[in-house]
């Protein structure tokens, strides 16, 4: 759990830097609401979380966060177009079944979208596959049989997706295993990717 929390902190830090003061944020899969709480305190955002799990809904509510209990796989139908300045999907893209539909929905209800995901192309993952094992790491901390991840993807995969789906990348941060931003060979050296994009 502690490594998971470290990744989350790095992830939250970059997301926070991408978000303007006083904006409105929809956080999909908001967990206990800690990202929104952080954004409320540091960026004065007004925000809503979407969360499926009962315990997380209760935790978000207790944290003073607006939370809407819903399965995001069912889409965001209730939210009107361009309702939020940002729609955030943090460390969840790889666990979503209806990836295309959800990104479409995020682009519909938000002016901009921020997604973060573990990079399957990270050299440590490649090495494990080369050695004949499904990768297990701080970023992908599950065994093949208990993972919630259904669509593991690389940084290159995601950028190709953006091109084919007319999403315009506005900002991109790739973090090393130690949480440091890197520029060189991101698809090989990057453990975690954070993208901000819009409809283009």
């Amino acid at each position: 759990m502690s490594s998971d929390n470290t990744i989350r902190r790095q992830d939250y830090q970059i997301i926070t830097e991408m978000i303007e003061d006083g904006s409105t944020v929809l956080d999909l899969g908001c967990g206990d609401g800690s990202l929104l709480l952080h954004l409320k305190q540091t960026r004065n955002v007004s925000g809503y979380g979407v969360e499926k799990d009962d315990r997380n809904v209760l935790a978000s509510l207790s944290n003073g966060i607006n939370v809407v209990q819903s399965d995001l796989e069912q889409g965001l139908a209730g939210f009107g177009p361009v309702t939020f300045d940002y729609v955030v999907l943090s460390l969840t893209l790889q666990a979503v079944h209806q990836t295309e539909a959800i990104i479409d929905e995020m682009l519909r209800v938000g002016r901009q979208v921020i997604v973060t995901f573990p990079n399957f192309g990270f050299w440590r993952h490649r090495l494990q596959i080369f050695l004949g094992q499904a990768p297990v790491s701080k970023q992908l901390p599950y065994q093949w049989y208990d993972t919630p991840n259904v669509h593991v993807l690389t940084i290159n995969d995601f950028e190709n997706f953006c091109v084919s789906h007319n999403a315009r990348i506005l900002d991109k941060v790739v973090l090393s295993e130690r949480g440091r931003p890197i520029d060189a060979f991101p698809n090989l050296m990057g453990a975690l990717a954070i993208y901000r994009f819009d409809k283009g």
């Binding site: 007004s46 209760l58 509510l61 207790s62 607006n66 809407v68 009107g80």
Partner: protein
């Protein structure tokens, strides 16, 4: 935190002499409201919570009368010392709505102008009228602003209406198993119930009091129909299934299945205790409720002046007011950037789940009232 009952409680009455112009255009020159209170009002009068009742409940929300367990209030599992709506913190008010039959002025009350029961001449009352009378009661009790207004079903509609009509006098609205307006199917069920009552020969056009009778069979059928809509198919199956009262089929029209027996019992009990004219008027108030009509049907526009924070809760097996109906409220609130949280509780108990002690549901309400309490202390 230990949970306990509020113990014995006593109804109170408040008389109002200032006439009220009702939404129907009629005026009531004076009226009385019956209510109960639990907990104590703080010096600043900022910890008051109003509980609004649904179709067939009353001001008796929590506690008992004379230690009699059978008289326990209808939302006693939620409200009391240490309970999710904690009477150690909040001053909780339950009232019988205008037009009711539990002490507040209604069709079975005596019309001072004629010294006869109002009966058929009692005016129609609406959710807006109730909010107005509730606000007047609050004023008389010295309460300028409610920390929260809470209700389930029709009670939730009153909480929602409060935030529209009295935006500066309500800080939080808790809306459970409710809807922003009735569907055609909802109105249809109400109409069947009304027809059952008005076609009962003992109804006498609503003036049965003078005939010293009651439209018992009409009320009974109305209650049986209503009761079916409060339960889910699954919960009826679990509770009754196809169980018979006796081991063999009798091939007659007596009560053979347990569900028949249960519905008849519920209907009979209700017919003795509830006023038919009140039932008719409350179902009409449900049908008329549609705060968005003033804004060309747009609920988000209707809520554009609201300032409250909201908790909206629905239950997955509620087909009377399904989760979809609650989401309409939530989405209109989000469109206005109002603070709202929404819980969709996985429950097999249908509409009636809002009256039950379901931990996930009560934990949400408890957590929300913790927030209300902290915000109220920070001010």
């Amino acid at each position: 935190m230990t949970r306990s009952s509020i113990g014995d409680v006593h109804p109170q009455h408040m008389a109002f002499d200032e006439p009220i112009l009702l939404k129907s255009g009629e005026t009531l020159s004076s009226y009385q409201l019956t209510f109960e209170t639990y907990g104590s009002l703080n010096e600043e009068k900022t910890n008051a919570v109003l509980v609004c009742h649904a179709l067939n409940a009353s001001h008796h929300v929590a506690g008992t009368y004379n230690g009699d367990e059978k008289t326990r209030g209808w939302w006693d599992n939620l409200i009391g010392p240490g309970k999710p709506l904690d009477t150690n913190r909040f001053f909780v008010i339950g009232l019988n709505n205008l037009g009711g039959c539990h002490g507040s002025t209604g069709p079975s009350s005596v019309n001072p102008a004629t010294t006869e029961p109002w009966g058929s001449t009692f005016p129609m009352v609406t959710v807006e009228d109730w909010v107005e009378t509730q606000a007047r009661l609050a004023t008389k009790l010295g309460i300028e602003t409610f920390a929260a207004v809470i209700g389930g079903s029709l009670g939730g509609m009153q909480a929602l209406q409060w935030t529209i009509d009295q935006p500066t006098r309500i800080k939080n609205a808790v809306i459970v198993a409710s809807a922003p307006k009735l569907s055609a199917q909802n109105i249809a069920f109400n109409e069947v119930a009304r027809q059952a009552i008005t076609l009962d020969p003992e109804f006498y056009g609503g003036d049965f009091y003078q005939q010293k009778t009651l439209p018992r069979s009409g009320l009974k059928i109305a209650r049986m129909i209503g009761h079916i809509t409060y339960l889910s198919d699954d919960s009826m199956d679990v509770k009754f299934g196809r169980s018979l009262r006796e081991d063999v089929l009798k091939f007659n029209f007596d009560t053979e299945f347990q569900i028949e027996s249960y519905l008849r019992y519920q209907g009979d009990k209700f017919a003795e205790t509830f006023d038919a004219n009140t039932y008719l008027r409350i179902t009409k108030a449900l049908d008329y409720f549609d705060p968005a009509t003033k804004y060309s049907g747009k609920l988000s526009a209707t809520l554009s002046h609201a300032q409250a924070n909201y908790l909206v809760i629905s239950f997955t097996s509620d087909w009377r007011f399904s989760p979809k109906r609650s989401r309409e409220i939530v989405d209109a609130l989000v469109a206005n950037k109002l603070n709202v949280s929404y819980g969709e509780i996985d429950s097999p108990h249908g509409h009636d789940a809002f009256l039950m002690d379901e931990p996930v549901y009560h934990d949400l309400i408890g957590a929300y009232f913790d927030r209300v309490w902290k915000e109220h202390k920070d001010e």
